[in-house]
Amino acid sequence: MDTGDTAWLLTSSALVLFMTPGLALFYGGMVRSKNVLAMLMKNYISMGIITVVWVFVGYTLAFSGDTGGFIGDFGLFALDGVGLDNAVHGYTVPDNVFMVFQMMFAIITPALIAGAIAERMKFSAWAIFIVVWSIVVYSPMAHWVWGGGFVASDIEAVDFAGGLVVHINAGAAALALVLVLGPRLGWRHTVMRPHSLPLTLLGAGMLWFGWFGFNAGSALAANGAAANAFVTTQIAAAVAASAWAGMEQWRAGAPTTLGVASGAVAGLVAITPAAGFVNPMGAVIIGLAAGVICFLSLQIKFRFNFDDSLDVIAVHLVGGILGALLLGILADEAIGGVAGSAEQFGRQALSVVVAFAYSFVLSYALARILDATIGIRVTEDQERRGLDLTLHDEQGYVLAE
C-alpha cells in the first residue's frame, strides 16, 4: 500500500462529497424561491440515505465478486470484510478508502437527477426512488464498468470517472422521470426564472472544485495519471464555459453568468469519462464540443415538449455521451493505455447505448410503479403554494428576523 495514494484518495473522497452540496446550490438557485429548500433537500437527502444504502448493499453489489458480468454478490454485505488493508481489491490504498471514495459517486449520481424533477416531485416518492434506483440501477452499472463486469471485460469500453455510470445513467433516469411526471403547472406559459443566480454560481464553483477529486481521484493513485486527469478537467471546464458564453453572445446577444456556469459543468461532465485517457489537446476539443453542443441541446426539451426543468438531459446526458464517444477517437495511448480508433469508438458507442437503455427502462418502470402506488407528484395546490412550505414546513427566505 502507498501512503501518498491513500492520502490523495481520502482527500478526493472529501472533494467528491463536497460536490453534492455544490450541486444542491447550483440547482437551488435556478428554481423559484418557493421551492428552494425542496430542491436543496432532494440533494442533501442523498448524502443521508445513499450512504446507508451503500454501506449495507450498494457497495457489495457493485464491487464484490461477479455474477455473470452483471452484478456483484453479497460477499461484502454491511462492509463485513472491507478492512484497513487491501485484501479485497489489491489497490495501493486500503479497501475502506476505495469503498468511501466510491460511496461519494453513489451519492451524487441520484442527486444529479433532481434537477429534472424540480418544483413538482413528492419528497417521499423521491426518497424511495433513489434508494431503489441506487440498488437496481447504479450498483449494477458501477459493476459493469468498474467492478469487473461486462462493459469493461466484454465490450471493452472505458469510462475513467463516470461518463456512463454517473452522467448518462443520471441523464437517462432524468428523462424517464420527466416523462412520467409531466411538466410543471404553467410551463412554457408563465415566467419561471432562476430566483438566485449567485447561489447557482457558488454551487458551480463548488462543483468545479470538487470535480478535481472526482476525476483526478479516479486514477486511484497520486501520480502522473492523476495529474493528467486534473489538467484535462481544468481545460475542458474552462473551454466549455467560454464556448457556452460565446454561443450566447452569438445567438442571443449577451453572455450570461448562468451560461458560464452551465458551460463549465457541461465541460466537466464531458471530460469525466475521458480525463485519464486524453491529452490536453483532446481536452480542448472535448470542452469545445461540450460548450457548443450542450448549449444547442437546450432546445431538445422545447422541440419534444418535456419539462426537464434544469436541463439535466442537455448537460449530463448529452455531455456524458459526448465525452464517452469522443474519448473513443481522441484517446492517447501514451496517457491511459487506450488508443483512439474506429474500433474503440464502436465499443464506446455500444456502451453508451447499453447504459442509456438500461437506466431509462428501469427508471421509467420504477417511476410508473411509484406513481401507480404512492403517487410521485405533489397536488396542484402544493405546487402553486410551493414545496418548501407544503412539504417541509419551512421557508427559504423570511420577511424579518
Binding site: V191, R193, R251, A252, L258, G259, F295, L298
Partner: protein
C-alpha cells in the same frame, strides 16, 4: 401633515436622500419594489429561454412632513428624480391624520 410617497429609479435614492436632508427632512423610509407603468418591460434570457418581464425594479420612498415643508420636499424629489426619460416615476401626496412616535408617545407635529 402629509405623507409623500414617491416611486423612483433605484439609482436616484442616494441623491434624493441627500436633497431631502438638505431640505430639512428628518427621516424617510425606502424599499425595493417592482412595478409597471408606461415604461415597457424587458426581456430576460435563461439558458436560451426568453421571458418577457413586465415588472421593472423601482424604489418606493415614504416621507412624513409638516404641511409647510411639503411643497419643498415635493419639488426637491421632482427635480432630483427627473432624468427626462420614461420611467422616472411618480409622486403621490396623502393627507395624514396623526403621527405617533412609539418610544415617547408624542403625537402630531411633535412626532415628526
Amino acid at each position: 401633515m402629509k405623507m409623500i410617497v414617491a416611486y423612483i429609479n433605484p439609482f436616484k435614492l442616494e441623491e434624493i436622500r441627500d436633497a431631502l436632508k438638505e431640505a430639512g427632512v428628518s427621516g424617510l423610509s425606502a424599499g425595493n419594489i417592482q412595478g409597471f407603468g408606461r415604461q415597457a418591460g424587458h426581456t430576460e434570457t435563461y439558458r436560451g429561454a426568453e421571458y418577457e418581464v413586465d415588472f421593472v425594479p423601482k424604489v418606493r420612498i415614504e416621507v412624513l412632513v409638516d404641511d409647510t415643508l411639503a411643497p419643498t420636499v415635493i419639488s426637491s424629489i421632482e427635480e432630483t428624480a427627473r432624468t427626462g426619460s420614461i420611467g422616472d416615476g411618480k409622486i403621490a401626496v396623502l393627507p395624514v391624520e396623526d403621527v405617533i412616535r412609539i418610544r415617547t408617545g408624542e403625537r402630531g407635529q411633535d412626532a415628526l
